[in-house]
Amino acid sequence: MGSETRGPQGFETAIHSGPNTVAEFHQRRSVVSQLRQLLHQTPSIVPLIVLVAATIVFGIILGGRFFSAYAMTLILQQVAITGIVGAAQSLVILTAGIDLSVGAIMVLTSVVMGQFTFRYGLPPFFSVACGIGVGALIGYINGFLVARVKLPPFIVTLGMWQIVLATNFLYSANETIRAQDIETQAPLLQVFGETVRVGGAVLTYGAIMMVVIVCVLAYVLRHTAWGRHVYAVGDDPVAAELAGVQVKRILISVYVLAGIICALAGWALIGRLGSVSPTSGQFENINSITAVVIGGISLFGGRGSIIGMLFGALIVGVFSLGLGMYGTDPQWTYLLIGMLIIAAVAVDQWIRKAAA
């Protein structure tokens, strides 16, 4: 057994005399590949470009009516709800999940805020808190089922969507609470409908809240440990777990936070509509997913930025307003938005493929 000496095997001695660099290769540098590289590094640039381009095109077609401060801020108002819900959706999708119940949570919480005030006569402040609590609770149930029982998010939230919506109709008895009543008895509920005017620009607090939520989340996702962990969980949950991320806790916190943001959206919805209407917002799940996808966040999780989602929502807003003003049949608008969705991911895919 002559070969059984301890220490490095003989043939390995040569290593130390070799160059100490890792394998390196020539790099090509064409303009296209450099562009792709840039786009890859900052994925929210693509939706930004599309947004600017769409705005310019509609501006040229529709002229001053569209390019006015009023119309521009109107878009912001119109996407406020989708933007806020989209922020919740982005969080969930970054963890490689999906939340089909966001719109339902939003409506139910707005109904809770309204009914607690008017049916039970609770102080509006307290009702709002209860609404947010309900949002957090539903989020917690979603999160619990996803993280602990390990059910696929699609199914959990598909079921929850139906459950919450049915609860909403049963609880509200399909009754709308009128704007006048809210105005006189509980103006706090409408606070996000208040506007700030700067020249022709009309900003609602709701729109401002959307921007604030997105900015805060962008900060949190990028600059805090929790944010990094959200990305890690979406990227590869097993690896994240082994690397010391508390995957279950992160997942649950994400769903709870999404529920809370949806409740804020519900509050903003009251401001936007003036009234509390249990039939609103049933399609917010599709709208928010659309915004997220056009904004370049990967449905497989772990990649994308929440700012992109905001651009995505605005793109849809620009298209709807622009096509509406142009006088297109609404069905054509849906058709174009359908194509936009596919085109957006196709571009995204192209960038990724190139720069991988």
């Binding site: 009516r65 109107l74 109709f169 009754e175 936007r272 609103s280 917002g281 003003m325």
Partner: protein, 324 residues
């Protein structure tokens, strides 16, 4: 108030419907478009995604304001919730006319050109009661409604029917809380054939003795008829409906539907467009029908089996007046 931007010479107006998939609204849109073309009005149309989609309608109103439209015709999905947005439009100097469905409160709009949906329901309810005669006491009624979210048209027609038939309504603002044993059950249909058939089948399985069917609209009635036909019960059961669309009236003619309450969306739409054109030129607003808080575009019972004391038109007449 938002500035009415570019002062185009052409008058522009908006039509906002609940959905653009229900034939009723599609026809309304066609009527409005035709009238607008005649008057040289630039009409743009908007719609919600489903019945009850209030948000899309709010966005549509805002778009119209931004677009500098002179007036808005709207069939509101949520008659209460839309009010603040309508107020915004009126504050911005637009004429807002509610079509088909009155707002709540009704004076939230400048004018209302509407069918009385409660009345429409009452007519078929009364007709059914008279037609069944003595059997009305122990009728078995299937109620085929619109949606679980109980949009107001659905509630008004349903409750109108029951009122006309002489059933205690409970809370007239919602269906499903009646205790009369003659009602076999309420099911929802989404206002289309598929939902109508499934709902009818379910209720038939619950009680195969059903002999009277109320349906929210004629597509649902057609679906219900298919379900009855599948079990060979089409002869003994009376179907009533609301709308008066051409396929519906033809179904009355063919005996599929016993009676339907016909409304006039084309009339509503063209009257609405006229009113906006008038308002833009002269600044005058339309007046409501005498004795009512809205301009009633009328509803008529269409049946080939008229009953005593209940004015109705036959299907020949109905076909002349039908929409689409």
């Amino acid at each position: 108030a938002a500035p009415a931007m570019a002062q185009d010479k052409t008058i522009s107006a908006c039509l906002i419907t609940k959905t653009d998939t229900n034939p009723f609204f599609v026809k309304m849109k066609e009527g409005a478009t035709a009238e607008a073309k005649k008057l040289g009005v630039n009409l743009k149309t908007y719609a919600g995604k489903i019945d009850g989609d209030n948000e899309s309608q709010v966005a549509a109103i805002e778009t119209c304001i931004a677009d500098g439209a002179k007036g808005i015709l709207i069939t509101a999905s949520d008659t209460k919730a839309i009010v603040p947005s309508v107020k915004k439009a009126r504050d911005a100097g637009l004429l807002v006319i509610a079509l088909d469905t009155p707002l709540d409160p009704i004076d939230a709009a400048d004018a209302t050109f509407a069918t009385d949906n409660m009345k429409a329901g009452e007519l078929i309810g009364q007709w059914a009661k008279e037609t069944l005669g003595d059997k009305a006491k122990d009728a078995k009624i299937a109620m085929l409604d619109l949606a679980v979210s109980q949009p107001s048209v659905g509630v008004l027609r349903d409750q109108g029917f029951l009122k006309g038939f002489g059933i205690d309504l409970g809370d007239p603002k919602k269906w499903g809380d009646e205790t009369d044993p003659r009602i076999v059950g309420h099911e929802v249909t989404a206002g289309n054939e598929e939902g109508g058939r499934k709902a009818m089948e379910t209720l038939l399985a619950k009680d195969s003795g059903i002999n009277l069917v109320y349906t929210i609209n004629e597509p649902a009635a057609a679906g219900a008829y298919q379900a009855l036909k599948a079990v060979g019960m089409q002869e003994g059961v009376t179907i009533t409906s609301v709308d008066g669309g051409c396929p519906g009236v033809k179904n009355v003619e063919a005996g599929v539907i016993g009676a339907t309450s016909q409304q006039y969306p084309l009339k509503m739409a063209s009257l609405g467009v006229d009113a906006i054109a008038q308002f833009a030129k002269e600044g005058t607003k339309p007046k409501p029908t005498e004795g009512k808080s809205f301009f009633d575009t009328g509803v008529q019972l269409v049946t080939d089996h008229p009953v005593e004391g209940l004015p109705s038109i036959d299907t020949k007449e109905g076909l002349k007046l039908c929409w689409g």
